[in-house]
């Protein structure tokens, strides 16, 4: 064991400090999680799921942890104005790892809760008890680490038959002048026939090294529908370890799009469990890497019941010395007949130093299914480039056009018009190298 022992020591030494501000529900799960974490430690690179991502090394840096809940004074709307034009949202912030309410215009529909996870767990434990950590409890040791140390996060609760028309935007920001670890948690519950769209933005522009672990649990009830867009725009010294767990009931719909625009070292894991007939899931991803960016996306779609549909599309564009890892698994359990499942992974390597590791996987135990996957690694089409140059488009511009079109397929799956337009713009800027920082925020200036 390496760095894990240091974290275990910190935990044992400061147990009271960690427990004190937190609700019983969080502390009960914490007790179970630390036992699991102590047993395994951080995953090594010999483990199948971590072959190309050395996460233990990323945890070994000396990060500050805000266990004493020192309050960060932040006027959120002052530091963050990178909003999406023409998109009105209900906002909430996670500054480092503490919930801050946003500056909302229109009130949320009645019964909808958008608030601090810890506060709700304190005040309405019965509401959260059936959900909190029920999916993440089986997660790997980075998830157990999160459960053991987490003190706050965001809860979004949407009751039966309620549709939240405006997009809910949750912005995670890192603000500190030391090396910093942020441990955050999101719990999203959609009751029967409810509907919402959610935009999660991950921002950081710390000069120092930082690491954020984020565990998200999502429960989508019968007939409910959720669009979830995750956008990562962090800096080269940031490590992100994200785990997303989703449980879908019958006839529910989940549309996920994860876009990594700028980052340092990212690991995203998505696990979708289809537990009710007729559930439909769509998970898309786009990763654009250059310099020494490392982007690892791992997905698992678990078809447990018949008549479900899943569709997956991940695209990578790798420049300079960046590394991409994609491992997607479709698991069709014995009873999951009539499943339709499709997975596509396409990767562009632009330099000889860029590395791509792809593992699209199918594990199928039912016979009456239609499953397929495809994966390609290649470069831009020479003949297309030539065609455009022939017609007077400069080589560089032609390359951008092709790359833009390549990325467009993922962006077009976004259901919110304003966000889609904004992303088209961001991606184009990104290709032109104009997107080192977002220019709107004080943090980035």
């Amino acid at each position: 064991m390496g760095s894990e022992q240091e974290y275990i020591d910190i935990f044992d030494r400061h147990r009271e400090l960690i427990d004190e501000p937190c609700a019983k529900l969080l502390n009960d799960e914490r007790a179970k999680a630390i036992i699991r974490f102590k047993a395994t430690g951080f995953p090594g690179i010999k483990e199948e799921n971590w072959l190309h991502t050395n996460i233990a090394k990323r945890f070994s840096a000396d990060y500050g942890m805000n266990l004493g809940r020192v309050e960060v004074k932040a006027g959120t709307h002052d530091i963050f104005t990178c909003d999406v034009p023409n998109l009105r949202t209900h906002q909430a912030y996670i500054i480092n790892d503490t919930f801050h309410p946003g500056n909302n215009g229109k009130p949320l529909p009645e019964g909808v809760i958008l608030g601090s996870l810890n506060d709700v767990a304190e005040n309405h434990p019965a509401l959260l008890a059936p959900y909190y950590n029920s999916l993440a409890g089986k997660g790997d040791s980075t998830v157990q680490f999160n459960t053991a140390f987490v003190q706050d996060g965001v809860l979004l609760y949407i009751p039966k038959n309620i549709e939240v028309e405006e997009t809910v935007q949750i912005v995670a920001l890192l603000q500190a002048n030391v090396e910093m670890m942020s441990i955050r948690r999101l719990l999203i519950i959609l009751e029967e026939n409810s509907k919402a769209s959610l935009l999660l933005c991950d921002h950081s522009s710390l000069q120092q090294q930082s690491l954020s672990t984020q565990v998200t649990e999502i429960f989508i009830g019968r007939g409910a529908s959720l669009d979830l867009y995750e956008l990562e725009e962090t800096a080269g010294n940031n490590t992100r370890v994200g785990s997303l767990f989703v449980r879908q009931d019958a006839d529910s719909r989940f549309n996920h799009c994860n876009i990594t625009l700028t980052n340092g070292f990212t690991r995203n894991s998505v696990e979708v469990s289809l537990e009710g007939k007729g559930a439909e899931t769509r998970i898309n991803g786009l990763a654009i890497g250059d310099k020494e960016q490392h982007i690892d996306n791992r997905t698992l779609v678990d078809h447990k019941v018949p008549h479900c549909t899943s569709n997956e599309l991940y695209k990578y564009i790798l420049d300079e010395q960046s590394t991409g890892v994609f491992a997607g698994k479709m698991l069709i359990r014995p009873d999951a007949q009539q499943t339709v499942s499709e997975q596509t992974n396409r990767n562009l390597c632009l330099t000889s130093c860029a590395h791509m590791y792809a593992q699209p996987q199918l594990e199928i135990y039912a016979d009456d299914v239609k499953c397929s996957h495809g994966s390609t690694v290649g470069q831009l089409d020479e003949s297309a480039l030539f065609y455009m140059q022939q017609r007077g488009i400069p080589a560089e511009e032609a390359r951008h056009l092709l790359m833009y079109a390549f990325a467009g397929e993922v962006i077009d799956s976004i259901g919110i018009d304003a966000l889609r337009d904004r992303l088209h713009m961001l991606v184009e800027k990104r290709f032109r190298g104009e997107l080192n920082h977002c220019k709107g925020c004080t943090l980035c200036k």
Partner: protein
């Protein structure tokens, strides 16, 4: 109703090659120790360097643990309960290799393997290996005229020690994996092929492996060297008797392909798969690898896997030479409780290297069938091209079909494609056949053969027919 009858009738049909030959066989005591390794080496009258090589591997093996990453459920294997050497020739010690025990001859006749010169018309040179010993190699003299060496490994060690020493272990190092270390320590026999420069081997070379003795494992080692501008097509077949206990087969095949040479390696693997309840059967844990060392060299693997309780193998190509080519065509069929985790590795090292992977999996009964493949393009392998296609066909709702491809790409000029599909035989196809008077059983055989045709077409003629029959037989009882 009708379907049920067909099912019952066919489920009772037994494995054709499940008989045991009553041949007096010398079997050494079971158990594995340094003593065993020395004893095997001594029995084969091996030179000192080879014994040292074996001991090194054995000592390394002791430090290893059996790997568990495969998608297989392998009951623990007691390596001390296996006998590592069984010699059916011992009875005729005084006239070794001249007169073969008639029982032994009968066994191979029964298996349809032409060992007699009168069967010369079949035009295939055969090396027959029973248990730990090569029984007979045919056509040796004819091949020798052309400078081709085709003999058993033991013979090669005695007669061509320099060649063997140069190439043995150069493709599969004993440190490679658990079973490679085990095989290197205790390997008993196998075939050795050397094709000299510029020679095109005039006939198919073939090795037939047979496990006969109980409680033994077969650990053969095959080494094929194709020198510059040569060509050889090599076939391999295997069967074993029906027994309630599991038997271990852990072989190594090494192939070296030099400049402009081509090797075609075909396997029809039909080890005993166990009975319908999953009792017995052979564990087939094999390391097969070819090294395309030369420029413009080509190696093609074709395999039809229908037997074995558990199959765990990945015939691979190291594409070292510039413009070298690797191919892998596979049909893997699992029925009842069989398990297979098979596929290939294509390691692109040279420039402008190409590889093709076509894998067809068929699962029936309660079996699990996995494709696992690696395509790695190293930093300097400019212009690498790979195409992989893995299809799975599911017959029945209790079986599983899995695909685990790995792509590690370190060069931006590579073009890599992988696609996989999983489906079952559609009702429409069956109905169409039924309509035209083709019974359900026959229709399924027809559809499966059509599905596997792309691979079967790559097999040499005689093998293709055998493989086609085998597919239908192995599927019998799977309809439902």
């Amino acid at each position: 109703m009708k379907k049920d009858n067909i099912l019952k009738r066919l489920a009772n049909k037994a494995y054709e090659f499940g008989f045991v030959s009553k041949i007096k066989t010398e079997i050494i005591e079971s158990g594995l120790s340094e003593k065993t390794v020395r004893l095997i080496s001594e029995k084969k009258n091996e030179p000192e360097w080879l014994l040292e090589f074996r001991l090194q591997a054995y000592r390394h093996w002791l430090t290893l643990k059996m790997p568990s990453w495969a998608h297989l459920n392998i009951p623990p294997i007691n390596y001390q309960a296996i006998s590592y050497y069984a010699d059916p020739l011992k009875k005729n010690k005084e006239n070794k290799n001249k007169e073969i025990d008639p029982e032994l001859m009968k066994t191979f006749e029964k298996l349809g393997i032409p060992l007699e010169e009168r069967l010369a018309l079949s035009g295939t040179a055969v090396d027959a290996v029973m248990d730990s010993v090569s029984v007979k190699t045919t056509f040796k003299e004819e091949l020798k005229e052309k400078g081709i060496i085709f003999c058993s490994m033991s013979e090669a060690i005695q007669e061509y020690p320099d060649l063997v020493r140069k190439y043995l272990g150069s493709v599969v190092n004993y440190r490679d994996n658990f079973f490679a270390a085990l095989n290197t320590a205790v390997f008993s026999d196998g075939s050795f092929v050397y094709i000299p420069k510029g020679v095109r081997c005039p006939m198919e070379l073939s090795t037939y492996f047979r496990i006969n003795a109980a409680n033994t494992g077969q650990f053969e080692r095959t080494l094929i060297v194709a020198d510059d501008d040569s060509y050889v097509s090599y076939l391999e077949g295997c069967t074993a008797p029906m027994r309630d206990e599991n038997q271990l087969h852990a072989a190594i095949v090494e192939i070296v392909v030099h400049d402009n040479a081509e090797v075609k390696y075909s396997t029809v693997q039909n080890w005993y798969p166990g009975d319908a309840e999953g009792k017995g059967g052979v564990y087939n844990f094999v390391t097969k690898r070819g090294d395309c060392r030369g420029r413009n060299s080509k190696l093609s693997w074709t395999q039809v896997e229908t037997g074995s309780a558990i199959t765990w193998k990945y015939p691979s190509c190291i594409l070292r030479g510039d413009n070298s080519q690797g191919e892998f065509y596979s049909v893997a069929l699992t029925n009842n409780y069989q398990q297979a985790d098979t596929g290939t590795k294509m390691i692109h090292l040279g420039k402008n290297t190409r590889s093709t992977i076509i894998s067809k999996g068929i699962s029936a009964g309660k079996s699990q069938n996995s494709y696992r493949g690696l395509v790695r393009v190293s930093k300097n392998a400019d212009g690498a091209r790979n195409y992989s296609q893995c299809d799975s066909l599911l017959l029945g709702d209790k079986c599983g079909a899995h695909t685990f491809p790995y792509m590690d790409i370190h060069n931006n000029s590579a073009v890599i494609e992988h696609e996989a599909t999983t489906s079952k035989i559609s009702e429409d196809q069956l109905f169409y056949c039924n309509q035209r008077g083709i019974g359900t059983e026959e229709a399924i055989g027809l559809i499966v053969n059509g599905y596997a045709k792309e691979v079967l077409n790559k097999l040499p003629m005689e093998f293709a027919i055998e493989a086609q029959k085998l597919l239908s037989v192995s599927l019998e009882g799977a309809v439902g």
